[in-house]
Symmetry: D2
Subunit: 407 residues, 4 copies
Amino acid sequence: MPTAPSARRPADPLDLLQLYRRVRADTARLAAPLSDADATVQSMPDASPAKWHLAHTTWFFETMVAVPNSPRYRLFDDRYGFLFNSYYETVGARQPRPLRGMLTRPTLEEVAAYRSHVDSAVETLLESGPSAEVLDLVELGCHHEQQHQELLLTDILHLFAQNPLRPAYRPAEPADATQEAAAEPARFHTFGGGIVEIGHGGDGFAFDCEGPRHRTLIEPYALADRLVTNGEWIAFLQDGGYRDPLLWLSEGWAKVQADGWRAPLYWEERDGEYWTMTLRGMQPVDRKAPVVHVSYFEADAFAHWAGARLPGEAEWEHAATSPAGRGLRQLSGDAWQWTRSAFAPYPRFAPSPGAVGEYNGKFMCGQFVLRGGSCATPDGHSRASYRNFFPPSARWQFSGLRLARDA
Amino acid sequence: MPTAPSARRPADPLDLLQLYRRVRADTARLAAPLSDADATVQSMPDASPAKWHLAHTTWFFETMVAVPNSPRYRLFDDRYGFLFNSYYETVGARQPRPLRGMLTRPTLEEVAAYRSHVDSAVETLLESGPSAEVLDLVELGCHHEQQHQELLLTDILHLFAQNPLRPAYRPAEPADATQEAAAEPARFHTFGGGIVEIGHGGDGFAFDCEGPRHRTLIEPYALADRLVTNGEWIAFLQDGGYRDPLLWLSEGWAKVQADGWRAPLYWEERDGEYWTMTLRGMQPVDRKAPVVHVSYFEADAFAHWAGARLPGEAEWEHAATSPAGRGLRQLSGDAWQWTRSAFAPYPRFAPSPGAVGEYNGKFMCGQFVLRGGSCATPDGHSRASYRNFFPPSARWQFSGLRLARDA
Amino acid sequence: MPTAPSARRPADPLDLLQLYRRVRADTARLAAPLSDADATVQSMPDASPAKWHLAHTTWFFETMVAVPNSPRYRLFDDRYGFLFNSYYETVGARQPRPLRGMLTRPTLEEVAAYRSHVDSAVETLLESGPSAEVLDLVELGCHHEQQHQELLLTDILHLFAQNPLRPAYRPAEPADATQEAAAEPARFHTFGGGIVEIGHGGDGFAFDCEGPRHRTLIEPYALADRLVTNGEWIAFLQDGGYRDPLLWLSEGWAKVQADGWRAPLYWEERDGEYWTMTLRGMQPVDRKAPVVHVSYFEADAFAHWAGARLPGEAEWEHAATSPAGRGLRQLSGDAWQWTRSAFAPYPRFAPSPGAVGEYNGKFMCGQFVLRGGSCATPDGHSRASYRNFFPPSARWQFSGLRLARDA
Amino acid sequence: MPTAPSARRPADPLDLLQLYRRVRADTARLAAPLSDADATVQSMPDASPAKWHLAHTTWFFETMVAVPNSPRYRLFDDRYGFLFNSYYETVGARQPRPLRGMLTRPTLEEVAAYRSHVDSAVETLLESGPSAEVLDLVELGCHHEQQHQELLLTDILHLFAQNPLRPAYRPAEPADATQEAAAEPARFHTFGGGIVEIGHGGDGFAFDCEGPRHRTLIEPYALADRLVTNGEWIAFLQDGGYRDPLLWLSEGWAKVQADGWRAPLYWEERDGEYWTMTLRGMQPVDRKAPVVHVSYFEADAFAHWAGARLPGEAEWEHAATSPAGRGLRQLSGDAWQWTRSAFAPYPRFAPSPGAVGEYNGKFMCGQFVLRGGSCATPDGHSRASYRNFFPPSARWQFSGLRLARDA
């Protein structure tokens, strides 16, 4: 949600129409390889069915944009509000989250019709010269839908990983010859510390939790120029990383023992080689690639083992935006990067009024911030001030890490 | 499974071929109204997806019949053994029961192809003059598949009942005018007791647990000539039946409190009227019709409230087969009827050798016997000696009750 | 509770006074080795603190005998009714069973004072020439208290077994030299079957579920002349008994896997020898002694492994009371003996009116009958018609087995 | 644990001996009103038995001080290491936390003997002129024991609150006449913000997580001059505070619904008046007194309702140490004060080497910082830099709140 909608230059309606169409088409394209059954099943309470993502993002536009602003808008189906509200208490009751997978009806086809119905209304509205407030809400809806595009991918991967047939979402590519090669050693870049500014402050779109832009004080520090690789992770686990309680946070160690963690989520050992479930089906683990599907607990334990620590989110953002950070690779597009910052309000943060105020603020407890962006993040969705967040035990996102040190 | 395959007259191969074709076609017909998504989702651990029923019954024929008896049989997919074994420890590992709903693949279409593939093999075998043992196994497989036909219906009803849209499996029929009318009062027929014979003993097919036929001693008793109706159930619940612990078994009362039972499963009160979810969608409760979807605990509490008791299974079977039982209505085709008999082996019962020996014997603990047959039971599947069984808390079957008394 | 109080010869008041005093003194003696802390802690929901047993048995006399029959009786503490009611819904609300161990107050000393207070009232009543109904209730209370004497021992053993110090309730005795010797092979005695009478029918006391005495039909069968020994159990487990699913009931096998059962409860392997926790602390397993602390599931699996089965309760009772049963040893005083009979009402059973009617009938679901009596059963408490019952997974009682076969 | 033991002026051995004796005697005095049973029972996994606190604090001195530094020290009982280790993975295996209440043995008397045995060794060591490292460890042990003194009180209160008799730990005092009076309205004191120093930096003792002292940047803010009162809390709940999801963090609202929170822990409504369980038994809620036994979730919701927020820990510490904070009352001695700061390492924090390094660092996840000190905190234990921490759902501590605002 825009930090301060009234203060920002409003988005251009035609640009926004283009953005809207592109985002909506992207979502449809992402769902195209899925059968109705694939799009319906919920593999765990934290994940949602693809069909639910398709419908919920549409419900957002219907409820926040079409209904309040298009007097002649007719609801596609008045029961969908209950089915596809996610967590907006302001808006009303809803299908309990762990039961989203019970909705074999509406069908995927009916959901596509729902999408078209709402698209017509939103597009007509955008073409009619709407208020700045409407523009802000459509823009928010587009970025909201992009978030669900990523979740659609991580959730379908989780579902397919539960299937002993290990189906592929995308066709597999020819195996890469690099599996045994090692990545270049990471190099640490040093940053000076002091009072820095972080947080979103410009004209472009940002979610409310990215602001207000504010000053903060950081100590000198160093950041690795690349992400931790699968090869390094294999060294960690072969060194007993998952067996030494002293490397772990207390709650993390309890999780290791209770859930039998021995490697990143989706890894399997076959005849001494590590394989992993991917959107292209089971693939050998690529030692040069950044490790993904690790929890905060694992990332933190790895950092201890490596004699380093996770970066703070201010350190990460400062590095990503300062000239000295030019040498840092893989800032975005590979893996979300765990920081050691709990997800908390910035100074003078206030949630937006209305239903969209429930977007971020009420989750500021028990979660850690991830920075950057992953291979599943839509192009142009993330930015240096972007604050993704998940509980420390979450593993099904494309989450990895970059090491930091005091300097 | 036949009580004593070698002693029985073997089934005629051509009759069996006809039975096989009919049963297999019936299953396909039952699944026809379902989308791939409908057929994939598992609504609770006790229920299975329709697709799983379609594939598991096929796996039974493939594993028990085709593989051991058709030397040139080629497995349709060597991974299906893992996916579609239910609980046969003899046969090997299997997809955990609560995760049957993760299998969005194979698709419904692929499962149909699997069915055809196995059908060809079984039909060829039946046409080739197979051994009596093969005939027995095919016959068992047909009756096994009929059991799954009923489960397919009860499981899809459970799934659709979880959906706030309350979809109908079958088209609704015009509402019946009889809702407010009362059924005729039940009349009790008296039976003399003494030494009686029960259990399957004839030439036809029966499951192993229905035999051996044996003598047992029963005391004089009386049975109601019809099942308990919805109208009577409404009287029970309006009289506080669900609020008086003294009517209930201790474990049943715990369940009432923990799960908030206030009426049969699927009932909803709307403006003072009771409605219930059915295969035809939400329907007003028909006061004249037999109550269904009640647990053993509820049936037993109702019987206490009515100053009666549930019948023993020997009483039920004796009444159903004796001339004095001619006046009993609704013996089969309306609802499975809870008896107060724990599911236990008959004297000198021995499970069959081999994998099919796991069919019934290993479930003889913690379950109660139901007799008769329901509206969802395939024609010709049940018989007077038939022993259905479920845990006392199960409610999603078409289970009702007939009252009994000491005479 | 007496089967038919009015029909039985009433107990003699002076005999009953003597019984009352003996039983009450026995309970106090059993609790003597326990500290206030030992007597307070609850080690699992199925077990109760010794202090609770001491107070609950007293509450039974206070509530069922003193209050309704002694007009001048003053409650010792009007809050004890809530604290020490077990499960009598007729009587009122109560401390939830899993929270019985929260009651550090009243102290053990206060509970002793409560016992004395109620003893005075009951003894005065018995000396005053009470009605037959009162005599029946006092007699019931004595037998009820004897049941809790056994539970007090099994529950304290369970508590001490949770303590890594493995404290002994009684002083250990010098180790026996017989550990390695084998017991005599069991011999099977054959019984003819036919119509037999079982159930309590005489003048003496019995619980309501032991009657009515009635005829039943049994087939010829054979019973082992002694219980299964620890030595035989070791052979079973060393033969892989706990690893072969085909020996087990389905629910039993699930329990083996979920709870990691590998031997009877309390057994530990130390350097290749089996030790077990007992009321005398950790002791080597005596191979000649009857196995105890096995569940119904284990007993049933063992019987399968041994090519035998568990007896039905009618078989057991018939053998124990027929002249042909004279050669059977260990009928009582060693271990409760699992039968394959579900705990169910005898023909024409009706619970007693009033609160004591909740004694047995409401537990007739999900439990199996055990016959005989154990080393922890008070002298004179059990009899041939006695029906003990526990769920099939219960292991903390002194429960063993005697093999049976069809003859 | 000292931030930098070698850099600090070592404690004087004689002062430390005095501190040691005082702390140890205080613990014994706190346990004096408890019976062996009171001291043994564990009322929930988060709480520990008093006996365990008595023994664990002793085990700390035995393991960290006596064993490594007194060559002739003989373990009191070599099994106590297993029983009374809390969570030190470095030191070895231990009794699982939820089973601490199974330890009816050793008795309270034996634990007292254990305390004496270790006291002799530690006192002898202190009198012998020990190294600075030993002095640091003894000092740490004293502060560690003080933490357990407070837990002993909160845990015994929790235990007594589970008992329907609601026993009093201390004698009740005559009822106060002030219940209906309102407290003075809170006034907000404004602080200027800027770069401030926080964290422990002086010579005295502090736990490792209180340092290093460091600079941080804060914005102008205001703090209430007193804690939120019970009277204000009653206004909040009567205004529907526990029923409005928009006031709550998402996870907090889930807790409200799942656990039925309607008031602070221990509150009961009786005839329209609020009562609460205290160490003096049930008492009327004093409207002028600070509210206690509220979770972070409740504190945060209250602050939203009041149009305020919780302070950050740097704001709290700055206010408590700056001249402008002189007007703030109830900084310590009434209730721990929730801050909105997640418990996280200060810049350049490094845990101490060795077992004591497990003291704080491994809990830096999922917890919020509380500042100040409560009525149960030992005199002299807390200080302005003190960081207490608990999960956001914890309610059994004496936890309250002070409101803050942006200025």
